[in-house]
Amino acid sequence: MNPLIKIITFPGTNCEYDAYKQLRFLGAEAELVWHQQSTLGNCSGIILPGGFAHGDYLRPGAIARFSPIMEEVIKFAEAGGPVVGICNGFQVLTECGLLPGALSKNEEMRFICKTVPCVVKSTASVLTSAATGGQELHLPINHGEGNYVCDDATLQYLTTNNMIVLSYTTNVNGSIENIAGITNKIGNVVGLMPHPERAVDPLTGQTDGQVLLKSFIEATK
């Protein structure tokens, strides 16, 4: 079967079409999956896209993690399948325990939408394998709650295992260690606040997101 990427859509998700469009632009096959579905079917990779699942009420991702499809997503991830959570998707991944830590309100208490320089800290993940360590990428961020927090032990765990994959060059939202994205220990589950799918089309600006999505597409093959 050909590789097929599934894009999980919750009510309130709004970046699903953008992810779909850009994955296809980069040559991958993709399909939207509604959160009420209880099977993934043919699936070689999963994107949890950005947006405001369940309105971000209570906490971003807090309600989404109970959707029927999430059991399948967790199984897929635990079996080593490539899973990337972008922005709201990152929040869902921390809420459901696939990634450690949590995302709290931006330090300045304001939503931020702009393109910021980021640095690839580790290439040992499904999202960064095609990049080079230390590479600077200009990526759009778009969030009100992207301030990564965790306790000291978790931070220690993240650093010793090389699990911080992406960081901001200046601290835009208050995140510990400027964290913009992390992975799990084996590198198949990645969450990041920046939106690589917004940096693909040269007509709309940066194309630095391509290397990340290409890594992911490669991992689904």
Binding site: P11, Q36, F52, Y57, I112, C113, N142, R198
Partner: protein, 777 residues
């Protein structure tokens, strides 16, 4: 005790008219419905007779004014729907929710037409943020737009930010929305088909904003800030409407899915005046009779009275007309998106004596609580030809604020700029970067945004949406206002506003194809305000006619006043332009070192109404004492045509492009910026700040030339000055070299020098300084 209808904001003669329409006394429910539908906000009773003068036709216009939104054909079987609305008074009371529900309301107007909303713009007007209460209002308003727009999934790609003390207690929050649709998804809010169901979609109905339109948007509005915070104090104010973007997002998806499946006959959003408005408009437009059953309306609070239910302004609701056989399918779709759908009535056979009776019943077959010809609610409010009093020549428009010097003197002599440091100082005071605002807005969703806020003179979006593939076209959007000019001469000021907005879209290579407007004025019972309104409409009509831009919709907000004074006349326009083909990003605002700066168009050395004059008056130039720069609409049209072609050729359009440009392989234009607020001085400094490149200005000789805001001018930065000069001559556009780019400062002979770092700090620091900390005082 005062008479009921007076308490509801109706006059004695309006009450008599209701009796005449009904042939009897109205009961309480009927009176409540008339009072909201005949409010200024819903009925346009003071402005309607004037609005007819606006030109609204063009071969592209599919739907003009009068529907929920205007719709324009952009080819390839695609249409765009646009609309703008104000949410001024609610934002004065609760800035976050006022602005949020303003965004929510205008978005509903767009998807009601079958269009997917893909862009918002938010022209905002507040008092200067140096005053804490203004900062509190602005901060809340911006967070409200951000909180709602981002979450509902519609990017905010542009807007305006204007500060003036006249908005101190009465901020203006206008929100524009644009949607795109496959032409065959277009639906109108016209009920039809006896036996069809009236289906209410979305939120339950609560006591939100009861009487909102009549109280908030009418003479009865008074902002009282005091309140007891430690108890649930009862208040005469209508309760604040709270927006739920999550509900609206699901409502958008459900409504578009229903339309795609051809499951609705008609659909209408619920906005001001709630169910009273939606039911009567649907019935009146379709000329059908409708029964509505109160028992079937899901309520948030069980003890609501019939008038409360019918006039509630609870957000995120839609009313659809559905064939009975289709209802099961409707429910299926609504279930998927977790949208509540309730049958609350029927289209019923008309009675012979009354063609479109709207009846409100306790339940199906129950007691009739109201029985009104729908058209009398929706269309037959009185239209007032209110008294128009032109101000006396040279009289102050606003006696409260007197200028410290004669503005005429300032306008002509410029003597306050005796010393050179003054000029630099003035420039710094005029530099405000709205980035602090627009960086709180998602402006990239749908990955359509070619030019986002702050980048170019207009926002540029690829013409595409989740269900509409990109065909190579793009849209350009600009919203504009010029209250200073309009205060001095509302007719010319409004024409200039239209002209600026049209030129803004042209600067991105787009041809202007449609306009919507929001007319924010003071109390229409003041003769002078009616004069401003009437003049403004004439100015808009004239500019739109000469520039061939149809007005496809609008909104009027009256009774805007602060500290007992009417606001400056503030007509806001939003122009949409079409780029036939885009393969490259248009030139934006900026400078390239070593390139030449050319001014296209001619400067009138006149500071009347300019931003810099305002700095040197104690208050503002509301005096009627100077003459604005002239606007030559014929020339302006020529300039727009030239710029559209020049830029269009560069970015890939092939429409009527002159050979010389099409053949050029290198980009003729590196950067472009129109000259408006702050004149050439501010235009150049903005260009410099954006690309952190200085400029040496040579061709400017006086303060008047530097700061004049005369219309029809554009600055370009180019590698090919001879070519530009030659082409402009060929197209009859005056042009001159005004300097060259480079260095770390902007310097103009004998006038000023400002280094980039200094300017940039001032530019970006202004708003954050005042908005970091905001309290309600």
């Amino acid at each position: 005790m005062e008479k009921k209808h007076i308490l509801l904001g109706l006059t004695d003669s309006e009450y008599d008219l209701i009796k005449e329409k009904l042939g009897r006394e109205p009961n309480d429910l009927e009176l409540a419905m008339y009072s909201v539908m005949w409010s200024e906000h819903c009925s346009y009773k003071s402005s309607r007779i004037h609005l007819g003068r606006l030109p609204s036709a063009s071969p592209r216009v599919l739907v003009g004014p009068g529907e929920n939104a205007g719709v324009i054909d952009v080819g390839d079987n695609i249409a765009v729907a646009i609309r703008i609305e104000s949410h001024n008074h609610p934002s004065a009371i609760e800035p976050y929710q006022g602005a949020a529900t303003g965004a929510g309301g205008i978005i509903r107007d767009i998807f009601t037409m079958g269009a997917r909303p893909i862009a918002l713009m938010d022209p905002l007007f507040t008092g200067p943020p140096e005053q804490p209460h203004n900062a509190y209002l602005l901060d809340g308003i911006v967070k409200g737009i951000s909180g709602y727009g981002n979450s509902v999934g519609v990017p905010t790609v542009g807007g305006n930010l204007v500060f003036d003390t006249c908005y101190n207690q009465n901020p203006l929050v206008n929100v524009f929305c644009l949607g795109i649709l496959p032409k065959d998804r277009l639906v109108l809010g016209r009920a039809s088909g006896v036996g069809n169901l009236v289906v209410l979609l979305g939120s339950s109905t609560g006591r939100d904003g009861i009487g909102g339109v009549s109280i908030l948007a009418s003479a009865a509005f008074e902002s009282d800030q005091a309140g007891d915070t430690t108890s649930q104090s009862s208040s005469k104010r209508p309760s604040v409407q709270v927006g739920d973007p999550y509900e609206e997002k699901r409502l958008i998806e459900a409504s578009l899915a229903l339309l795609d499946a051809h499951l609705v006959v008609a659909i209408q959003d619920l906005g001001g005046a709630g169910l009273a408005c939606a039911t009567s408009e649907l019935a009146a437009r379709g000329r059908v009779a409708m029964d509505v059953y109160l028992s079937e309306i899901p309520l948030r609070e069980s003890d609501m009275t019939p008038p409360e239910i019918m006039t509630s302004e609870s957000q995120e609701r839609m009313l659809a007309i559905v064939k009975p056989d289709d209802f099961a399918d409707v429910q299926e779709i609504c279930k998927k998106f977790e949208v509540q759908a309730s049958v609350i009535g029927h289209i019923v056979p008309e009675s012979s004596d009354c063609p479109n009776q709207l009846r409100i019943l306790t339940e199906a077959g129950g007691t009739v609580l109201a029985d009104i010809p729908a058209a009398t609610l929706a269309d037959e409010a009185p239209k007032y030809n209110r008294e128009i009093t032109p101000p006396k020549p040279l009289a102050k428009l606003d006696d409260m604020l007197s200028a410290s010097r004669d503005p005429a003197e300032i306008a002509t002599d410029g003597s306050h700029h005796a010393s050179v440091p003054d000029i630099a100082e003035d420039i710094l005071r005029l530099l405000v970067d709205p980035a602090f605002v627009y960086e709180q807005y998602d402006h990239q969703l749908f990955t359509n945004t070619v030019c986002g806020p702050g980048e170019a003179d207009a926002a540029v979006l690829k013409l595409s949406a989740p269900d509409i593939a990109f065909t190579g076209k793009a849209l350009a959007l600009s919203s504009d206002a010029n209250p200073n000019y309009c205060a001095i001469d509302p007719r010319l000021g409004t024409a200039m506003t239209v002209a600026e907005s049209a030129l803004n879209v042209a600067c991105t290579g787009a041809e202007p194809i449609g306009l919507v407007n929001c007319l924010n004025f003071g109390n229409p019972e003041h003769g002078e305000v009616m004069w401003q309104l009437s003049e403004s409409i004439d100015g808009m009509a004239q500019a739109c006619r000469e520039l061939d831009i149809p007005v496809v919709g609008g909104n009027v907000s009256l009774y805007n006043s602060s500290e007992g004074k009417d606001i400056l006349p503030t007509p806001v326009v939003a122009v949409v332009g079409l780029i036939e083909s885009i393969s490259q990003k248009p030139p934006i605002i900026g400078l390239n070192a070593e390139e030449t700066l050319i001014l296209l168009g001619q400067t009138e050395h006149n500071l009347c109404g300019s931003a810099v004059s305002r700095l040197h008056e104690q208050s503002s130039p509301r005096a009627h004492a100077c003459n604005l720069p002239r606007l030559d609409l014929k020339f302006h049209k020529q300039l727009i045509g030239f710029i559209t072609k020049l830029v269009g050729a560069q970015i890939g359009s092939s429409n009527g492009i002159p050979q010389e440009i099409a053949n050029s392989t290198d980009n003729l234009l590196s950067y472009i910026h129109d000259v408006s607020f702050g004149g050439i001085a501010i235009a150049l400094c903005e260009m410099a700040i954006k690309s952190q490149c200085g400029a040496i200005v040579t061709g400017i000789s006086s303060v008047e030339e530097l700061f004049s805001e005369s219309p029809s001018r554009v600055i370009v930065c180019t590698k090919f000055p001879e070519k530009i000069l030659e082409l402009s001559q060929q197209y009859g556009i005056p042009s001159k070299v005004i300097g060259s780019a480079g260095g770390k400062a902007v310097t103009a002979d004998n006038l000023f020098t400002l280094d980039l770092a200094n300017m940039s700090d001032q530019f970006s620091g202004y708003l954050s300084t005042y908005l970091k900390v905001t309290d309600r005082e």
